[in-house]
Amino acid sequence: MSQRDAAPDPPDELAAAPTATDEETIDVEEADDEQDLSQELSSLVGEIPWTDQPTEPLVIAFAGGKGGAGRSLLAANVGLLLSRLGREVVVADLDPGGSNLHTYLGLEPILPTPGSLLRQPGPPRIERLSGTHLSLCRPPRPMGTGADDPLRAEALQAALDTASDVVILDLGAQADPLTLDTYLAADAGIVVVLPEPVAVERSYAFLRAALYRRLMHGDDEPAVVARALLAADQVGQLDTPADLVDALEGVHPNAAAAIRARVMAFNPKILINKCRARADRDMGAGMVSAVGRRLGINAEDLGGVEYDDAAWEATRRRRPLLLEYPGSTLGNDVERMARRLLALVGARELRG
């Protein structure tokens, strides 16, 4: 089955032909542009060695940064984009602070009954966005209203069990253990950053937490030795992963090698959202350099996404951005970012 055959039927809104003659020319041009880009993207997705019976879906996680960084909007629209290229996609709402993925997809919120806050509220809900290959998976009641970790874990499992090609996770801005473990397990973990100090600082805090969890969580020997060493370091001499590896070198060379390999294999993706200036778009590359130098992390730059009122407009109408404003700067940036992400992940899949 070719990519084109697999493409989903366009949603009604896109198929609706304009009636007024004076608008027709413009609309046709826009449709042409969009088709070009779609074809280009289709051919790119075609290069990725998807197997006919995927054993495991490609898992993309959006995390980190701070509230309002745009994770949900990006997760929803990247999901929509990949689904329009014929891939079966599920986006999962795993934000412990209670995200609003449904709003960005134009689906209804779940209004909890008082009873559902007290009882076990039942299984996760999976809902398909009509006319697409995209489903939303979410816990059966809004998060942030109780002991949510089991509900989030169930929703994660349900999303992975859907036999989709792609699973996109909206993890929220927190760095709790479940979020970190989920982030680390994803094929591509994206940290969404805003070009402002608070978001940058929060993003580094998230990356540090994720890195040290990767290095030291668990009962395997390297983790245990590393934890013991850090616990003994009361003056804070072991400030960076390189310090830790150096110190381990002396007492336990195998643990040092294992920890070094874990640092090197941690490849978070950095995305700068709501860029207003040229320099904002270059910030991702700068952050990649900086975390490389300071933490030894091989991060990857996903580039910038423009600040665009289209996001605000689309969200206010509770309509998916890519359907509401297909040719917007933001829409194009989202497509570009998705393309870069697929290229990065695709290259990996090819080799792995």
Binding site: L184, R260, A265
Partner: protein
């Protein structure tokens, strides 16, 4: 990973090759001094203020030494008493000869080994190619100045012990030159396996 050893010499501090041109050094300093300026947003929450200031000082010192030809020569003599490892500097270009295969090496070592043309060039294949080209590891180390340990790790596919990809690629190209292999193909194949290992180790450690 970036290691403190990477900062052990001034080239490492500026993240440039020891053969970098003056222009490359200027550009590297401009980029890094802007990036790691204590007021830069990019270091906020990553470096303590005093650390960012110290890093700024180190960058400045490295730049001032390397951008001045006189000081750089003095520094190179101190750093490389055996001679500069780079082939790129104009004043050394005449003196140094790029690594070449032995005259009795087969023109197509892959075919000589009876392997398929598209056999991926892993460490194991590389060791066989080296033998069929009648070259010892010591000879490669001598000609290229690549440490013996690194050469052994390359042939043993001991990825965890290899240097940063940027150096590794340079080493591979030099090795290819001595073994009648296509440098581009060796880099593509070997770095492919290297990345696969990175992913593999990431996957194995997926859940912490």
């Amino acid at each position: 990973m970036h290691h403190r050893d990477d900062d052990a010499n001034l080239y490492g501090v500026l993240e440039v090759d020891p053969g970098a041109t003056e222009d490359e050094i200027r550009r590297a300093y401009k980029r890094l001094s802007t990036l790691f300026d204590p007021n830069s947003m990019v270091v906020y929450g990553l470096y303590r203020l005093a650390e960012a200031q110290r890093l700024g000082e180190r960058l400045r010192l490295a730049y001032e030494t390397l951008v001045d030809p006189e000081k750089r020569r003095g520094y190179d003599r101190q750093l490389y008493p055996q001679g500069h490892p780079s082939l790129r500097r104009a004043d050394q270009r005449v003196a140094s000869v790029p690594p070449t295969p032995r005259p009795d090496a087969p023109a197509d070592p892959i075919a000589a080994l009876g392997l398929a043309e598209d056999t991926p060039l892993t460490g194991e294949v590389l060791a066989k190619v080296r033998q069929v080209c009648h070259v010892t590891l010591e000879e490669i180390a001598d000609r290229t100045k690549i440490p013996m340990f690194t050469l052994r790790c390359i042939e043993g596919d001991q990825f965890a012990d290899l240097p940063a990809p940027v150096y590794l690629k340079g080493f591979l190209k030099q090795i290819a030159g001595m073994l009648n292999l296509s440098p581009d193909q060796l880099v593509a194949d070997y770095m492919g396996a290297y990345s696969a290992w990175e992913i593999e180790s990431a996957r194995n450690k997926r859940w912490g």
